[in-house]
């Protein structure tokens, strides 16, 4: 049997512990009851699932391209950490992809990958939440500017943790992988993440409908791309 690298296992354990602490922090936060809007949670869960399910497979790097980090950040801005957490969990558990005629879902993937996917997003959410709140405090209650500055963090942390994981598990060159993943998509990911700000601006008037201002172009872009690829 193939021996799993010990350092990768340690990394996964540490990351899982961090994610559990973060989840505990999210659920015990005093604002959590204010964020409990069932409709918002369901909508964001569904949007996350559809976004990840429509991810585009890039054969050159054998990676999936999606703007899921932007969706998580949008969920965070509109529904707080709870909505983002639910969105992440639902996305990881229920998203599926059709590849080579077979359906790939959470149960058909190796457990360690599902665990990594879930926990690294939670850790990234914790980092984003911390930075966002700190920025709101130092800017004297502004919302848009902190959101604008924090938006790229989700994508960057996600890339960083991915590179670290593959460095431990497959001994891949850390910087090389980081650049390979980050460079081609950073412009798309950063701008799409910044687009989540649209939600923070339109949410007061349009409520959960404001998510469509953000999701509509993503879906359109994805469908167009899929059509072009096919």
């Amino acid at each position: 049997m193939h021996k799993y690298p010990a350092k990768a296992a340690v990394f996964l354990v540490i990351q899982t512990l961090c994610a559990m602490i973060a989840a505990f922090f999210f659920f015990t936060h005093r604002d959590v009851s204010a964020q409990l809007n069932t409709g918002t949670l369901i909508v964001w869960a569904l949007l996350g699932i559809q976004n990840e399910s429509l991810a585009i497979h890039d054969q050159r790097g054998n990676i999936y391209i999606s703007t899921i980090e932007a969706v998580f950040f949008a969920a965070y801005l509109s529904g707080g950490v709870l909505a983002a957490f639910v969105c992440i969990t639902a996305t990881v558990l229920f998203s599926f992809r059709v590849q080579d005629g077979t359906i790939r879902h959470a149960l058909s993937k190796p457990f360690r990958l599902t665990l990594f996917n879930h926990t690294h997003f939670i850790v990234a959410l914790l980092v984003v939440d911390t930075i966002f709140k700190w920025l709101v405090r130092i800017t004297g209650g502004l919302l848009v500017l902190p959101a604008f500055l924090t938006a790229p963090v989700f994508f960057m942390v996600s890339c960083f943790l991915n590179a670290l994981f593959y460095y431990f598990e497959e001994d891949r060159d850390f910087m090389n992988y980081l650049i390979r993943v980050f460079r081609p998509f950073y412009m798309d990911a950063l701008i799409a993440s910044s687009g989540a700000i649209i939600i923070s601006l339109t949410y007061p008037r349009y409520g959960i409908l404001s998510s469509l201002f953000f999701i509509t172009p993503i879906i359109m872009a994805r469908l167009t791309f899929l059509e072009r690829v096919s």
């Binding site: 687009g195 649209i198 409908l209 201002f213 167009t224």
Partner: protein
């Protein structure tokens, strides 16, 4: 082309009738609005009719929309005309793209498709957004809104982009590699390529598309080679002994090579060549290529330019732009930077009461940040300057949050981004950026789309606090916002469509895209090419070329020259063929022969650059060339 006309007619009805209907439903005042809307839509459709031969129609449409938008600012009487401003940018841009499409060529189709995708995305998302907003009004708004004329108008507004979307989707379909054989003509990607083939090759292609079996048989073609008598006893036919087969075989080979060169496919014989008589040849089409004669594929054949010159590509009417054009192109980025800074500063001045010093700081910083990337354009700090400029332009408005609402800061930031992007897109044609253009294209591709989308959404969905002091000036800035958006979208579409290429003639050397061009040509052909490019009208007579090659001696003394009897003409004709092939392959242009070949003696051959090729010639070069010719004559 009946289907095309029918489509455009349907488009006109679809576009105009609902506007009129909405106007009637809405009441007497909105009736005018409906009528005007219908007229504008109808004019837009008329432009599609006229685009084949005239750019004037397109210009007129833009002017019409601008005038009407201008009237809407004039007074309260025309206040309802504000609705017109929401007409941006769908139909206008669909027409823009149609024009760009007309001049696009095969090599640019990949970029063209990307540009079309951007438009489809923006318009599709925008339509959905508008309909959603109306549904939101219906769901959460007052009962007065629901079911009222405003609601109908809103729904119409959302749906009014459907014709534009349909148009764009069909255009994108047209960018696929279809080979059509229609009424004796062969069309590839909506360009007539019939003249590239001999009559026998054309017939082979026609036979191929007309047969359900998809195979070409020797006996079907032999009647064209006067070899029908050889096929009387087809049962005992031996291809190797048949003279008609030899002719067909050569044509098939030639056709195969041409199809391969154009990326259409290749003609394939059966595995066992002895079965060639029975099984015939088939065409192995390249991936994505369809060879067909289906009439519905001619849908947009009406967009083919009225006169196809020399078959393969559509050259520009004149490839030699005047000096003012270069000055305009060179000055455009500076005009964009200064104009954008002034307009945004003016808007800030109207909307807020900033202290004088802060406002002064803003104006200086705005102009500095926009100009810095232009100032350092040939400096090693260029990239640093661009990044500094980009970040500065985004975050500058947020320094004013002590005086203006945060949401206004976001809007100013978006405007700054739009101006910055237009600025950069306007610089690209000048090739002044040292970045790898392909990499730059990839970087900009998504960024432009998202920027357009955010700007559009912000204008529609975000309610900005407008101070009373702004008054009617807010309308002016509304119009400017929409114009800025249209400009941004147009720049993006042009950016994705035809990338200008520069052909430079300096000191007898031809540089294309900053690379030496004539290294693959013989000395004589090189001189002919230089003479073509340096001549003002691009026309050279047979006698001129002969003089050039014979060191100025005029051996064509007889005015009643018959080219078919002239050996010199035969030699020149071959040289022209080589040059034409060379120019077309490199994507510079083509050499157009007179309609009747013997007329080359009186009418000459004409060099024509492609639409996106800009020719730069230094005066020094022209003088040196003329001197060289004169000295040859004297010697």
């Amino acid at each position: 082309m009946v289907p095309f006309r029918f489509f455009v007619f349907s488009l006109a009805v679809y576009s105009a009738i609902p506007a009129l209907f909405s106007g009637v439903v809405a009441g007497s005042t909105a009736l005018y609005q409906g009528i005007i809307l219908s007229c504008i839509q109808a004019v837009g459709v008329a432009v599609i009719f006229r685009q084949k031969s005239s750019r004037l129609a397109f210009t007129l449409l833009i002017l019409l929309v601008l005038i009407v938008a201008g009237i809407s600012i004039a007074g309260d009487v025309f206040f309802f005309m504000m609705f017109l401003m929401k007409l941006y940018p769908g139909p206008l841009l669909a027409v823009t793209f149609s024009l760009v499409y007309r001049f696009a060529r095969r090599s640019d189709f990949a970029n063209l498709s990307r540009g079309l995708n951007i438009l489809i995305l923006v318009l599709g998302s925008y339509s959905i957004l508008l309909v959603l907003l109306q549904l939101e009004n219906a769901a959460y708004g007052s009962k007065e809104v629901f079911g009222s004329a405003a609601f109908l108008l809103g729904i119409y507004e959302g749906l009014s982009y459907i014709p534009a979307l349909v148009l764009l989707i069909i255009h994108r379909g047209g960018s696929e590699a279809n080979v059509l054989s229609i009424s004796g003509r062969i069309i590839f990607q909506y360009q007539d390529i019939t003249d590239l083939f001999t009559s026998l090759e054309q017939e082979i292609l026609r036979q191929y598309v007309s047969k359900a079996s998809g195979r070409i048989h020797c006996r079907d073609l032999s009647r064209l080679t006067s070899g029908a008598e050889y096929c009387k006893n087809s049962g005992t036919c031996k291809a190797s002994r048949c003279p008609a087969y030899a002719v067909i075989y050569r044509s098939i080979n030639s056709l195969s090579k041409k199809l391969e060169t154009m990326g259409i496919g290749s003609v394939v014989p059966p595995e066992n060549k002895r079965e060639i008589i029975v099984k015939g040849w088939s065409i192995n089409q390249c991936k994505g290529v369809k060879i067909t004669n289906k009439p519905q594929s001619t849908f947009f054949a009406g967009l083919i330019p009225a006169k196809i010159e020399c078959g393969s590509r559509q050259p520009a009417i004149s490839g030699l732009p005047s000096a003012w054009f270069f000055r305009f192109q060179r000055g455009l980025p500076f005009a964009v930077a200064l104009g954008g800074a002034v307009l945004i500063s003016a808007e800030l001045f109207v909307y807020s009461s900033l202290p004088d010093l802060v406002f002064l700081f803003w104006v200086c910083a705005e102009i500095f940040l926009l100009l810095i990337s232009l100032i350092f354009r040939k400096h090693r700090f260029q990239k640093t300057a661009m990044v500094f400029s980009f970040l500065g332009i985004i975050f500058l408005p947020f320094f004013l949050v002590a005086w203006i609402p945060e949401i206004s800061a976001v809007m100013f930031s978006l405007k700054n981004c739009a101006v910055f992007t237009i600025l950069q897109l306007s610089r690209i044609p000048l090739l002044e950026i040292d970045h790898d253009p392909k990499r730059l294209r990839e970087l900009i591709s998504s960024a432009v789309f998202w920027l357009i989308w955010f700007y559009m959404t912000a204008l529609i969905a975000i309610e900005l606090p407008i101070p009373a002091i702004a008054g009617r000036l807010s309308l002016v800035f509304d119009v400017l916002d929409r114009l800025l958006l249209v400009w941004l979208l147009s720049s993006a579409v042009v950016f994705y469509s035809l990338r200008p290429k520069i052909l430079t003639l300096i000191d007898g050397e031809l540089l294309f895209e900053n690379r030496r061009l004539v290294s693959g040509l013989s000395h004589a052909n090189k001189r002919i090419l230089q003479q073509f490019i340096s001549s003002q009208d691009g026309i050279l007579l047979c006698r001129d070329i002969s003089k050039l090659l014979d060191d100025g001696r005029d051996i064509c003394g007889d005015d009643d020259c018959k080219p078919s009897m002239c050996r010199r003409y035969q030699s020149l004709y071959k040289r022209i063929q080589i040059l034409r092939c060379y120019l077309e392959t490199t994507g510079i242009g083509t050499i157009i022969s007179p309609e009747r070949k013997p007329e080359s003696y009186t009418q000459g051959w004409r060099f024509s650059a492609y639409e996106n090729v800009i020719i730069r010639r230094s005066q020094k070069t022209l003088i040196s060339l003329q001197t060289e010719i004169l000295s040859n004559v004297v010697d």
